[in-house]
């Protein structure tokens, strides 16, 4: 896996916030794997969440607007409809995020031409393992990989991996992220899964 050490912005986070640590690593993965020579990110989960969320916001806005414009008695039925539609949209959004999206942080696709068109699809999941008295908090990265051809109909290979590293392996005391070290680790895992499927 090529690791280019080009000029990158310094990423500095609050060491005490597990949320910020995880988000910083997730963002680094997205940047790393979306490079032109690697994968093309599929934004389906983000787009669904955006669509449902913004639809809800507009429904809420429209309902409030009509309720403000019309007399209270007249607006009641419209307000009921708007409220129910909003609740349904919010529910759908929550269910999607919990069941379908889950821990996924990156979904990528790549097509290569090697006597035939080979499609590769990779999905990365991340989770924080909270700290115990013995261990510092850790970042668990899992990925599934699928290689197929003929438009996804014939499966060439499949692989998965899961590894955890404590956050202090990548962040120093100030909270600065060591890009190279992190990308080497991620690249090594991804490479291992992909190479093991090579024919």
């Amino acid at each position: 896996m090529p690791t280019a050490s080009e000029d990158r912005d310094v990423v500095k986070v609050n060491n005490a916030s597990l949320n910020e640590l995880k988000n910083a690593l997730d963002d680094a993965i997205k940047r790393f794997l979306s490079r032109p020579d690697l994968f093309k990110q599929i934004h389906l989960h983000t787009d669904v969440r955006l669509a449902l969320g913004w639809a809800g916001v507009f429904v809420a806005g429209a309902t409030a607007f009509y309720a403000w414009r019309l007399d209270f008695e007249q607006s009641k039925s419209l307000t009921w409809i708007g409220l129910i539609v909003y609740v349904v949209l919010t529910l759908l959004q929550t269910l999607y995020a919990y069941f379908v999206e889950g821990d996924i942080i990156f979904v990528g696709k790549r097509k290569t031409f090697d006597k035939r068109i080979v499609t590769e699809r990779i999905t990365l999941y991340s989770r924080t393992k909270p700290s115990t008295p013995e261990n510092p908090p850790a970042y668990t990265l899992s990925l599934t990989y699928r290689r197929s051809t003929s438009g996804g109909k014939s499966l060439l290979g499949r692989g998965q991996a899961s590894e955890a590293r404590p956050y202090n392996a990548f962040f120093d005391e100030q909270g600065v992220l060591d890009h190279d070290r992190f990308e080497t680790w991620v690249g090594e895992i991804v490479g291992r899964v992909m190479e093991s499927e090579a024919e």
Partner: protein
């Protein structure tokens, strides 16, 4: 001041900005929907109001928060504390019902046996006022049910001062909204 956050936003791209703005917008949207839902449940356009004057002392003081309901087919009784709005006036008034008058309006030319609650007429007076409210009714002798926003079912003292402050000093309102917006935009879930 927000250089780090702005850099992060620029780095993560357009979708991310949309997501962050959605964070803020959905907080507002859910607040709005909760308010509207409460209004539908209590059958009143303004389920929570703030007392602005001292005309109901010692029961309610300026700055108290009042919780209203408006049951659709129930008569209002003498002694109920109602909030009403005279058409043409923006400000709701919180006063007690002094007299009620049940009117039988013929339906399709037929005189009904029992008067309907929605045709009730009311006269109100503030506990702390000397006179009843006829002067406030802008020419009407009685208040009609359609002028009533609701009757008081519960209250919280002092909490309403926040709303009074926000209304008297609009800069506070914008500052609060601006601060919340900024927070929602840079906070990650």
């Amino acid at each position: 001041m927000f250089a780090d956050e702005l850099k992060t936003l620029r780095r993560l791209g357009f979708r991310h900005v949309l997501l962050q703005v959605l964070n803020f917008a959905s907080v507002l949207a859910s607040g709005l929907m909760i308010w509207k839902g409460l209004g539908l449940l209590t059958n009143t356009e303004s389920p929570i109001v703030v007392v602005l004057s001292g005309s109901m002392e010692p029961a309610f003081y300026r700055g108290d928060l009042l919780f209203l309901v408006n049951p659709p087919d129930t008569r209002y009784q003498t002694g109920d504390i109602t909030v009403y709005k005279i058409p043409g006036q923006d400000i709701p008034i919180v006063h007690r019902v002094l007299e009620t008058h049940d009117v039988v309006k013929p339906v399709n030319g037929v005189r009904e046996k029992v008067p309907r609650p929605e045709n009730q007429l009311l006269l109100t007076k503030g506990d702390n006022n000397y006179l009843d409210d006829v002067e406030l009714y802008q020419g009407l002798d009685w208040l009609e049910r359609k002028h009533i926003v609701g009757k008081v079912r519960g209250f919280l003292p002092y909490v309403g001062y926040v709303t009074i402050a926000l209304n008297d000093f609009p800069q506070l309102k914008y500052a609060l909204l601006g601060g919340l917006g900024l927070l929602a935009l840079v906070q990650r879930e």
